[in-house]
Amino acid sequence: MRLLLILAVTLILSLALAVAYPDVMIKPGELSAGHRGLERACLGCHAPIRGASSASCLSCHKLDRIGRATTAGLPLPAERFAKLRFHAGLRETDCMRCHTLHASVRHRKEATFQHALLAPAVRGDCRSCHLDRKPADELHSRLNDGCGSCHNTAAWKSAVFDHRALASGTDCAACHGKDKPEDELHPRVTKSCVYCHTTKRWRPAKFDHNRYFRFDANHPADCQVCHTDGSTFSIYTCYGCHEHSPAGILAEHREEGIRNVENCARCHRSGQENEAEGGGEQREGEEEDDD
């Protein structure tokens, strides 16, 4: 009985206060500046059980007037408010997906702007709203495509950089000049990074020189000695030093019946002569099938 009395008193007192002072008892934070004065008119926007409705917003805020004029009809300057005019082409009119009048949830709504509600033409033209967001750095000055090539609509910072959007093509050094390692190999390499690396990450590099030829003291990693054609690493010659001459090599290999002595690395994967792998090498009388 005592509990029932406590329950009844609490209930009646709280309900009375909530009805008399809804702005103090139940309002979740201050109303935005333009809506001050509606503090006790909860049902002006909120339909019981169904909640706040967009229809009540639209009764004052006409979509095609947003960014053009105030609700009182006063014109708004384009230089400040043009970016709000996308409202006219919204696919849905669910105001509460992005907006709230109450301070306690404003930060949450502002962080979750619903790009999906935008008309496709507006959604694809990021710069129509984010005019001032393109960084004035070297990287972004080279980019021509829309922001959506790298960024998503959730946050700028989770960018996935797509090198295909670059106007500089395969000129990696234009951006990555400082990334070139100062080791024994890389300073000698004059070709584009894409010969060995992908645009997703530097490591692992796809190129493994040992698969073709293993360096040693007499055969150092000095690219230009073997790859004399500056345009590609796919062409090489072993006749760039005094040790190997075409005539001498041919004479030596002719004893074995080998007459193609241009593609040495096909059999010799190192400078060790006894490591030669003879399988599949052309000998006299065989069809030439070099690539």
Binding site: L17, A18, V24, I26, K27, P28, C42, A52
Partner: protein, 191 residues
């Protein structure tokens, strides 16, 4: 020298009570830093369900339900309501907007304190008081001397008894305020 009840039990009780609040503030801070503050919104629902579930003990105690061991249900009541309160504190966060939900939180914390009193303090305190009283009498002290020596402890136990008797009424007030808060959300939601 034997330490008083205040040092042995009231201070540890306050420590664990403060820990509950600090854990809620810490968890709320972590959720905000991780950008997961929206979870707090739903913790209010989960916490309320846990607290409601913990009342199975109250129903068993009053023989409204017949199944379940009272001791096990009491332990479940303590555990579920503690976790539920923690979740509701995270749900409340440190955003001071409307009075009704904050009144509910304040009354909930008072209800927790009265519950803690029953769990942590009262039983041990009574036993200690009896043991000390018996010891003093065996030592030949007169009633007045015993009462004088046990003044602080007996006063503490009396305060605890009062706290415990308010647990259910205060919980009733909390339940009513919380129900009104939920009702206001259902009526005015999508803000």
């Amino acid at each position: 020298m034997r330490r008083s009840l205040l040092v042995r039990q009231v201070i540890p009780f306050l420590f664990w009570y403060a820990l509950l609040i600090l854990a809620a503030i810490g968890a709320d801070g972590l959720l905000h830093r991780a950008g997961l503050y929206w979870i707090g919104r739903y913790l209010g629902i989960v916490g309320s369900v846990l607290i409601l579930g913990s009342f199975a003990y109250s129903l068993r105690k009053r023989k409204i339900i017949q199944r379940g061991s009272p001791k096990a249900l009491l332990e479940m009541h303590e555990y579920m309501s503690w976790v539920g309160v923690l979740m509701i504190l995270i749900h409340a966060g440190v955003h001071f907007n409307a009075v009704l939900p904050w009144a509910a939180v304040a009354v909930m914390l008072i209800a927790v304190a009265s519950g803690f009193t029953g769990k942590y303090l009262l039983k041990n305190a009574r036993e200690r008081l009896r043991t000390r009283e018996a010891g003093l009498r065996e030592a030949g002290l007169k009633d007045e001397e015993v009462a004088d020596r046990l003044f602080l402890d007996s006063t503490t136990v009396d305060v605890m008894k009062r706290w415990r008797t308010v647990h259910i009424p205060i919980t009733t007030v909390f339940g009513t305020l919380a129900a009104l808060h939920v009702l206001s959300i259902l009526i005015f939601w999508r803000w």
